[in-house]
Amino acid sequence: MMRNRQIAVFEDNDMQEYIKNNRNVVTPIIGMILVILVFGFATGWKNYTANNLQTILNQSYSLAILAMGLIFIFAHGGIDFSCASVMAFSGLIAGLLMQIGVPVVICGIACVLVGTICSVITGALTVVFGVPAFISSICMMNICRGIVMAVIATNAVSVTVDVSAFKSWPVKIIVLIVVFIVTTFLLSKSLIGRYNKAIGENSVAAEQSGISVKKYRLLAYMISGVCVGIAAFFLLCRTGRMATGFANGLQLEVIVALMLGGLPPRGGYRSNIVSAIAGPLILTVLGNGLVILGMDDLMTEGIKGLVFLAVVFVNYRGSSESITGLFGKIGLDSKKMLLK
């Protein structure tokens, strides 16, 4: 008896220790469960009908894949506003290729390639030429969006071939799981992830530890670009046509999602892939639930902003540096609300 009790106490301590050390992993998971339960109750579980569940998954799908790539850039302390526009641009290329009769799989690969190239160009501007990350990514955002607008203004681009395979849930889920496993592995078990976290933690110390800072920052952009391409292709298949507003808004939503998911605003060694799963889910269930409850769109955005603020203060209270780092991002979110 005595022995048993002692062991129990020990495990309890271990658990406490784990929670203490991984608050930014544990809190978002609890938050995710809470949001799911609260909205289930509030809507009388109407929001989890098969139909609505699909909507939720569809909405969080692009966001999650995007977040799993972008987290590498965030881990080293960077930011990327261009991802949504790059999605539109690579989707455009894929769509154009489909129209001239290129096999769907090749179109998909092209989509991923274009996404990767654009992202690496943004990265090179920042890493090699020293343009601040937010400026270089805003430039890339405008360039890509501009091209997309110019092209669709003259000829409509839509999916003319059969892409039902890429719309079916089994394929989508498998791709999601594969991306999840690969990025999880890269972020927590590989040199790329570890070095990027070290750079986010203290780039001077990282360099003075013999890390080739430029190389690993560029690799982060590359991984992010691959994910952007994947997200773009599936979104294109789902929507069936290219529009000027393709994926627009995701660039900010993904930042909010990652923060909600507990990613430290400056990246660093606490960056965890959980943020890229929990964040998008929380955001989507929240938005979707509010709509089902009869809230109008503008209000939904406002409430999302408030929840975001609350989470930020709960998560990052006590570390003043993190809070100031976040204010820029909160500001962006409210700007987005105003623009809407």
Binding site: N21, F185, K189, S190, L191, R194, Y195, A198, E201, N202, V204, A205, A206, E207, Q208, S209, G210, I211, S212, G268, Y269
Partner: protein, 487 residues
């Protein structure tokens, strides 16, 4: 006029008296507390305990403005002006509201006042409407002088200002100092140039390790005597290396050839051998820290090269791959990731060692971390503990462990015992000695001369970016020999 101090660490209970109408010199080694003390007097920072009295009244300036209102002004050692704004704006920084009507600044008045301030110190050649960056460092220093003199200070503090100035600029400052004395006002003068000190000062206070060692008056001035007082520490028996055997391997492991740096380094040549402890000393700005950074590929060099086994080093990852390890003198900001765990820090340079096919093994990581913690007996709760929570000495051990675990053969330590207590210091010295015995080559950059003498097989003294002298290990070597070459 009496000033009493009792601040800790940098200053450990200093009593200092400044009389009217005197130029009091303040000398001491790097880190002896000269600048700390004068910056407290001038209101840049506050002391932890102790009191100051100005003309018999308690005096405790909260900031520089308050100090200036009490007629105490200081010309600082570093650059004290802001580059991006105009010269006149710099001079009246913090007082701009005096020149504005509503929210509009009256530029004309500003420039007139600035011009007057310059004329007061006898400078007429500076156009006050130009941006500060357009004038050279000497004129920027004069701008600070003019700014400080505006309040007609009763106490003028000159902190190593003359080293940055040409003869012309120096004459201006000497002139001001003479004027102060003539008007029965006082000057505190800090310089490393003992000849200068002897020439311009009436009295002298010597500081060492934050303690006042003694007061000298003009007739007592004697260069050797002052040096003795500045250094004057006995080397304790087993604190440093006990042997005077400066032998080492013959193989050259690192070669520095005709190295010119962006800032100070001028034509530096040296060779580092297997099993050698090479000490590099000099004043803070002599280029020794830059040389250390260059050896690890941190700074870009203008010309010349550093090679290890024929491989050129110009980037940090090349240096690390070539078996060089480096611990910066700014340990907390440059060598460590304070928020991250101890294990995270220790493993960063050697991740390739503990991963297979690019996969980091958690178990091996944990084991490796524990090995290093044990090897250096780092006092901590475990590899997960935040590095920030450690004491200075244990943090330094973590920075050492990064490279020792990796097995780096060449170790560049920049001020390895800075901010480390005596116990850890002794442990570090033992460690360095053991490393030498195992054939590691060590570059020991230090501002503490007794440390260099106590540990090095060979000492290089630098001055103004050049190698000024070289000394082999010997029991006869004294700090005076080194200081003579430094200043």
């Amino acid at each position: 006029m009496v000033k009493t101090f009792g601040a800790t660490k940098a200053l450990r209970g200093v009593d200092f008296v400044l009389n009217r109408g005197e130029v009091r010199g303040l000398v001491g080694e790097n880190g002896s507390g000269k600048s700390t003390m004068t910056s407290i007097i001038a209101g840049f920072q506050k002391c932890d305990s102790g009191e100051m009295f100005l003309e018999g009244k308690p005096y405790a300036p909260a900031n520089v403005r308050e100090a200036r209102d009490s007629k105490v002004a200081m010309i600082v050692q570093e650059i004290g002006t802001i580059g991006g704004i105009g010269i006149a704006e710099n001079m009246f920084l913090g007082e701009i509201q005096n020149f504005s009507r509503g929210s509009i600044v009256e530029k004309k008045k500003l420039h007139e006042e600035a011009k007057k301030a310059f004329e007061k110190i006898g400078v007429t050649t500076i156009d006050t409407s130009r941006p500060t960056t357009s004038i050279n460092l000497e004129d920027r220093k004069l701008l600070e002088v003019a700014s400080a003199m505006r309040c007609d200070p009763d106490i003028l503090i000159v902190d190593e200002t003359t080293t940055a100035l040409s003869q012309n600029g120096r004459e201006i400052i000497y002139g001001l100092m003479k004027k102060q004395v003539a008007e029965n006002k006082s000057v505190i003068f800090i310089s490393h140039d003992l000849d200068e000190i002897i020439e311009v000062c009436d009295n002298l206070t010597v500081l060492r390790d934050g303690v006042m060692i003694g007061d000298l008056s003009k007739p007592e001035f004697e260069k050797n005597k002052i040096q003795n007082m500045m250094v004057g520490r006995e080397i304790k028996g087993d604190y440093y290396r006990a042997d005077y055997d400066g032998s080492h391997g013959d193989r050259v492991v690192m070669k520095v050839e005709h190295l010119y740096g962006l800032h100070t380094l001028r034509d530096v040549n040296l060779e580092l051998h297997e099993g050698e402890i090479l000490g590099i000393g000099g004043l803070s700005e002599c280029g020794m820290h830059e040389l250390g950074r260059a050896m690890f590929g941190v700074d870009i060099m203008v010309s010349g090269q550093i090679t290890v086994n024929g491989r050129k080093i110009s980037k940090t990852h090349q240096a690390a791959a070539a078996g060089i390890g480096y611990v910066s003198k700014n340990r907390d900001t440059e060598s460590l990731m304070l928020q991250a765990g101890i294990g995270f820090n220790i493993t960063i340079p050697s991740l390739e060692k503990i991963s297979s096919f690019g996969i980091i093994s958690k178990a091996r990581e944990k084991q490796y971390t524990q090995q290093q913690i044990d090897a250096l007996s780092i006092k901590c709760e475990g590899g997960q503990q935040k590095t920030r929570a450690l004491s200075g000495g244990n943090k330094q051990k973590v920075a050492f462990a990064k490279w020792l675990g990796k097995g780096s053969q060449i170790l560049v330590f920049d001020c390895p015992t800075r901010g480390v207590d005596v116990g850890v210091k002794a442990a570090m010295y033992r460690l360095i000695e053991d490393l030498k015995k195992n054939g590691h080559a060590i570059v020991l950059i230090s501002e503490e001369l007794q440390e260099l003498i106590g540990m090095s097989d060979r000492i290089i003294i630098m001055k103004n970016g050049r190698i000024e002298g070289e000394h082999l290990r010997s029991s006869d070597l004294s700090e005076h020999d080194l200081i003579r070459e430094m200043i």
